[in-house]
């Protein structure tokens, strides 16, 4: 009688379990047999109390065997169903990985800021402080103190915007040299980036652009030091193996004055379109600070000497990034800005 019941339960489980497909259904099915209160196998256990004492051990073993078998059976099926379910879930969740990502759009720094940043990093490592002067400058600082008195022909080199008789839009960041030297005694190493203005507006000139001025004043500073420093600068900004070439030029506030060319980084100096076949690219002007400039700032030119250099930030940016139109730098076209994210 009891044996029949056990066989029936076994058969019921065997018969139905394979048709179950969801783990929730399996759970319910399992509960219908193993639930402590209402489970069919638990009921069998409870029915044992009505059996004669001597039959109890044998029957108890049978029920226990059944229980063990059932648990194994349920566990086995549970594994199978879980695996199937996971497979289905993964299938359902599969995505088109080529669809666009969700991103936080980032903006770009202006190429001038990037170049100035790079220059500052290079020169800060050599001990240069950063000084930023004002855009509106006194005629004295922009010209006179830089050995360019009124009606000096060198003033014709730069078309100046005046805002009053004595004030102008600075034409060169060199104006900062004087402010620094008036307030600081050697050793001086400063880098002065900023906007400058010239009354020139055509395809290749912008009435506003940026310059970066550098000044070193100390004992025994020489032209050889200038070239050594510029060699390091050129390699860092344009790449390994770039060389510099000095050639004579003229600026009122330096003497000797030089134009500094770097070997063409596009062709390695063989001559190409970028360097107009010369193998060299003009990047900056420099020279030994003119003694009168030091005197104007109360620095004894017999004790100290110095060099100064100045470069066009946009020119460096245009060379570095291959920008072909200076005007594009001041237009904020989204298609321009997009290219400078980094």
């Amino acid at each position: 009688m009891m044996e029949d019941k056990i066989a029936a339960i076994r058969a019921e489980i065997e018969e139905n379990i394979s048709s179950l497909e969801l783990s929730a259904a399996l759970y319910e099915f399992r509960k219908s047999f193993l639930d402590n209160k209402d489970g069919k196998i638990s009921q069998l256990m409870k029915g044992m109390k009505d059996l004669p004492k001597e039959e109890k051990p044998a029957f108890g073993k049978l029920v226990n065997d059944l229980k063990t078998w059932a648990i194994d059976k349920f566990d086995e099926y549970n594994e199978k169903i879980k695996a199937k379910e996971l497979e289905q879930k993964n299938k359902d969740e599969a995505i088109d990985v080529t669809m666009p990502g969700v991103k936080n759009e980032v903006g770009a720094l202006h190429p001038d800021t990037m170049v100035i940043g790079e220059l500052i990093d290079i020169f800060a490592g050599m001990g240069f402080e950063i000084y930023e002067g004002s855009e509106i400058e006194n005629d004295y600082y922009n010209f006179t103190a830089l050995n360019t008195p009124k009606d000096h022909p060198a003033r014709d080199m730069q078309d100046t915007f005046y805002v009053s008789d004595d004030f102008l839009l600075r034409t060169q960041t060199s104006a900062g040299q004087i402010h620094v030297m008036e307030n600081k005694k050697p050793p001086i190493k400063i880098l002065s980036p900023g906007k400058v203005f010239r009354s020139d507006d055509d395809a290749t000139h912008s009435p506003m652009f940026s310059q970066m001025e550098g000044l070193v004043v100390d004992r025994d500073i020489s032209l050889a030091d200038l070239q050594g420093m510029l060699d390091t600068f050129s390699e860092r900004i344009f790449g390994e193996g770039i060389k510099t070439r000095l050639r004579p030029s003229y600026f009122p506030f330096t003497e000797p004055s030089v134009e500094v060319d770097v070997s063409c980084f596009a062709c390695g100096g063989k001559g190409c379109k970028l360097c107009k076949g010369t193998g060299w690219i003009e990047v900056l002007g420099a020279g030994i600070v003119n003694r009168h400039v030091l005197e104007n700032c109360g620095i004894d030119p017999d004790v100290y000497s110095g060099f100064a250099f100045g470069m066009g930030v946009e020119r460096i940016a245009m060379l570095k990034y291959g920008i072909n139109n200076i005007k594009a730098l001041f237009e904020s076209d989204t298609r321009f800005a997009e290219q400078f994210k980094n």
Partner: protein
């Protein structure tokens, strides 16, 4: 500065090619901007002898047999009227290149290559050429101006290339002369440098002359020596006005000057050769044989050679006879005393006028000339003397007139001699950073005319009289030595003697970069716009007449009205950029700019204005809202741990319902808003545009606060979501403030939804907030939080009429 090779060769023995010379000049500081071969376009043209010449009946064309020497005899058809048997002409052979001319045979239309052809059935293997077809003018070669064949000399060898014969193998150097070397604005100046780079002697042009002309009595007075430190006049009699000789006309032509007549050409020639402007007066027009150099009287007038009348003032220097101005000093002669075909007696003038005065007068009157441009660059008085001598020599040489002994020279006493200078060799080498061998120092300076001598550490030189740029210190000499010795001799060193210094950005500079990077991270790209803008930009933003922004610094000489005011705000530039982007089809974008605005203390400016950094942000496109832009500001505030407060406000150019004033610690520092609909319409903007401008300098001190760590709370935070129904007039800020005040443990309140609908009721909205409670010394229980919420709700109901939804 144009310098023909042939002219330079007159004074220096040049034994290198034009190309090599270009390189040498470049290394010495004279950049050749263009090296132009005079006959660059002409090839394959040789001397030919016309041996037979037969007219094709009923045409103007002759069939010629032309002997080309080594190139054989060729049949060539020719339509020129001066073709003749026995004539020697330039022959462009098949394959030659010459200028193509229009039907008038005068207008050049480009370069053509000669091909075999047939004219009226007759074969033609080449072309007989005119001067125009070879690019040769009458001034360059006598007879070349004839509208027909250019006739070559009888002795020209057959088959010879015509280029050397016609001077087409010459080169012209267009040299960029730096402002410190006005002496090199002349052929002799360049020739001196050429001599120096080639280490060859410089041969001074012939300055000699005989005084066999009539003598006169003449009076020269210089009343303004400060404007005219030297005035030289010399009388030349028996003037025979005629064309100048071919060589002079050719040289003038190569440097772009048309020959006029011998007397005038001499003045131009000396200007080019010596860089000394000259003037010739017709002596008969000078009243009372007298010259007075003086400042013009107020409202005095003069008519210059080009028949323009000028009203003068005492700032202008004039050359006068007894009564009237006869020349605008250094700029242009007067019409009343010009050289005429009938001129018999000439007073030649060579002077030095102060460059700044010439410059000012020339600018003020809007009148300039080769002469004034030369004076503006600066001139030395030694050259003034040389120039006069050279002019007198030429007067005699080309038979223009007889030089008298009537020479007048008035000077303020400046020396025209070389002067001594001694500098330290050691100091010079120290500036260069290398040791230039003493013999090299001597070589370099000797070639440049400095007559150097070294005595121990003393380097003695004589500074040439034409080198006004030498400022009498060691750096001048160092420059001369190194540009001659060669910069390639410098061995780079790396600040070997310099002190160690601490470098890098200061705190403000670092901060600025961080702010920029924070904004980039929010999707905004950095812009740089011009520091100047247009009065129209202020009009565009409807800035009222009395507003601070209207008190802008005006550029006295702007490029245009559009770029005439220094910016007092950045928003206009940003809005213009948005419009530009939309016009170019860019439908969305985000930008920011940090730049100076300029506030004058008073106008016109007589002190430095206040330059303040502003931050302007712009966003446009369909996905932008007031809150996307506000979010960027909040991110900025969060990054730098500051609190910005937004209160409803208005501007003249933003949407009245979508504008807020931005404050920091109770101080208003800017605005944020959507660009007004009507303004957008007038700018044809069809996308929403949002702008914000802040006084960055007001913000900056708050940004720089030091970072101080607070320990992370020990106990877990508790959150509650509350949906509250309030009247439409209640703002989010009011709700947030009320809640925050009600409970000290409430550390964060954030709105996450606003709902309006029937269930909520007319004129009401439901605002859903997430509340974060942070315990300090014990774990919160649910009951505790409920108690706080209850208290909070009570307060909200009382203060703002809020009800729990």
């Amino acid at each position: 500065m144009l310098a023909p090779l042939s002219w330079l060769k007159e004074y220096v023995d040049i034994d290198v090619s034009a190309k090599e010379l270009e390189g040498l000049l470049f290394s010495a500081g004279f950049e050749v901007e263009e090296l132009k071969e005079v006959g660059a376009d002409i090839t394959g043209v040789v001397v030919g002898l016309v041996e037979t010449c037969e007219l094709i009946p009923d045409t103007h064309i002759h069939v010629c047999q032309v002997n080309l020497g080594e190139y054989g005899t060729q049949q060539i058809c020719c339509g020129a009227d001066n073709v003749c048997v026995g004539g020697k002409f330039p022959v462009a052979m098949v394959g030659a290149t010459v200028y193509a001319t229009a039907k008038d045979h005068v207008t050049v239309e480009g370069v053509m290559t000669i091909k075999k052809g047939k004219l009226r059935g007759q074969e033609s293997n080449g072309m007989l050429c005119s001067g125009t077809e070879l690019g040769v003018t009458e001034d360059m070669y006598p007879g070349a101006g004839y509208n027909g064949l250019l006739v070559l000399p009888k002795d020209a060898p057959l088959g010879m290339d015509v280029k050397p014969l016609l001077g087409l193998d010459d080169y012209i150097f267009d040299i960029s002369v730096t402002a410190n070397r006005p002496d090199c604005q002349s052929i002799i100046g360049i020739a001196r440098e050429v001599a120096a780079v080639l280490k060859k002697p410089f041969k001074m042009p012939d300055l000699s002359y005989h005084t066999d002309g009539k003598d006169i009595d003449f009076k020269i007075t210089v009343e303004a020596p400060e404007l005219c430190p030297r005035y030289i006049a010399h009388y030349v009699s028996d003037i025979q006005i005629a064309p100048s000789p071919a060589w002079m006309r050719r040289r003038l032509s190569l440097v772009g000057i048309n020959a006029i007549s011998n007397a005038v050409d001499i003045t131009n020639y000396v200007l080019k050769e010596f860089g000394q402007p000259m003037h010739a007066f017709d002596l008969n027009d000078l009243e009372n044989t007298e010259i007075v150099v003086r400042r013009a009287k107020e409202n005095e007038t003069i008519v210059t050679l080009d028949e323009k009348e000028f009203r003068l003032n005492p700032e202008n220097l004039v050359i006068c006879d007894k009564n009237k101005p006869v020349a605008l000093a250094g700029i242009m002669g007067g019409l009343n005393s010009e050289i005429k075909d009938t001129t018999q007696d000439v007073l030649l003038e060579a002077a030095k006028f102060a460059r700044d005065n010439i410059r000012r007068t020339s600018r003020a009157l809007g009148q300039s000339s080769d002469s004034s441009q030369r004076f503006e660059k600066g001139l030395d008085e030694y050259t003034t003397q040389l120039g006069m001598k050279r002019a007198l020599h030429l007067m005699e040489e080309i038979g223009c007139g007889k030089v008298s002994s009537a020479h007048f020279e008035v000077s303020a006493g400046n020396s025209t001699d070389a002067h001594p200078l001694t500098v330290s060799v050691r100091r010079m080498n120290q500036i260069l950073g290398i040791t230039v061998p003493n013999d090299e120092i001597i070589n370099c300076l000797d070639a440049l005319g400095f007559a150097p001598q070294i005595d121990g550490d003393d380097l003695h030189v004589m500074v040439p009289a034409w080198r006004d740029d030498i400022d009498d210190h060691v750096q001048d000499i160092a420059e001369e030595v190194i540009r001659s010795y060669g910069y390639h001799h410098i061995v780079p060193t790396f600040l070997k003697e310099a002190s160690v210094t601490a470098g890098g950005r200061n705190a403000d500079q670092k901060l600025l970069l961080r702010v920029k990077k924070t904004l980039c991270a929010q999707g905004y790209s950095e812009s740089i716009f011009y520091s100047f803008f247009s009065p129209k930009d202020l009009d565009m933003l409807r800035i009222p007449e009395n507003a601070k922004e209207r008190y802008a610094i005006r550029i006295k000489n702007p490029i245009s009205e559009e770029l005439s005011l220094m910016r007092t705000m950045l928003s206009a530039s940003m809005l213009n950029a948005v419009v530009r982007n939309l016009r170019r089809g860019n439908t969305k974008g985000r930008f920011f700019e940090i730049a100076n605005v300029f506030y004058p203390k008073e106008l016109p400016l007589n002190a430095y204005p206040e330059e303040r950094k502003h931050l302007c942000i712009g966003a446009f496109g369909d996905s932008e809202t007031f809150f996307t832009l506000k979010g960027a500001l909040e991110a900025l505030a969060e990054t730098f741990a500051i609190k910005l407060t937004f209160t409803r406000s208005t501007t003249t150019f933003t949407h009245p319902g979508m504008t807020a004033a931005i404050s920091l610690d109770g101080q208003e520092i800017g605005y944020i808003g959507r660009v007004a609909h009507d303004l957008c319409a007038s700018l044809a903007i069809e996308k929403p545009v949002f702008l914000c401008e802040l006084d960055y300098d007001a913000l900056r001190p708050a940004l720089g606060k030091a970072l101080v760590y607070k320990p992370v709370p020990k106990f877990a935070v508790e959150t509650r979501d509350l949906a509250l129904v309030v009247g439409e007039e209640i703002t989010c800020a009011q709700m947030e403030d009320a809640m925050t005040e009600s409970c000290k443990y409430l550390t964060k309140v954030s709105l996450f939804d606003v709902y309006r609908g029937k269930q909520i009721g007319e004129g009401k909205k439901s605002m859903a907030f997430k509340l974060v409670f942070t315990p300090d010394d014990h774990e919160f229980t649910g009951d505790e939080i409920d108690k706080y919420v209850k208290k909070l709700l009570k307060k909200l109901e009382f203060m703002l009429g809020a009800e729990l939804r």
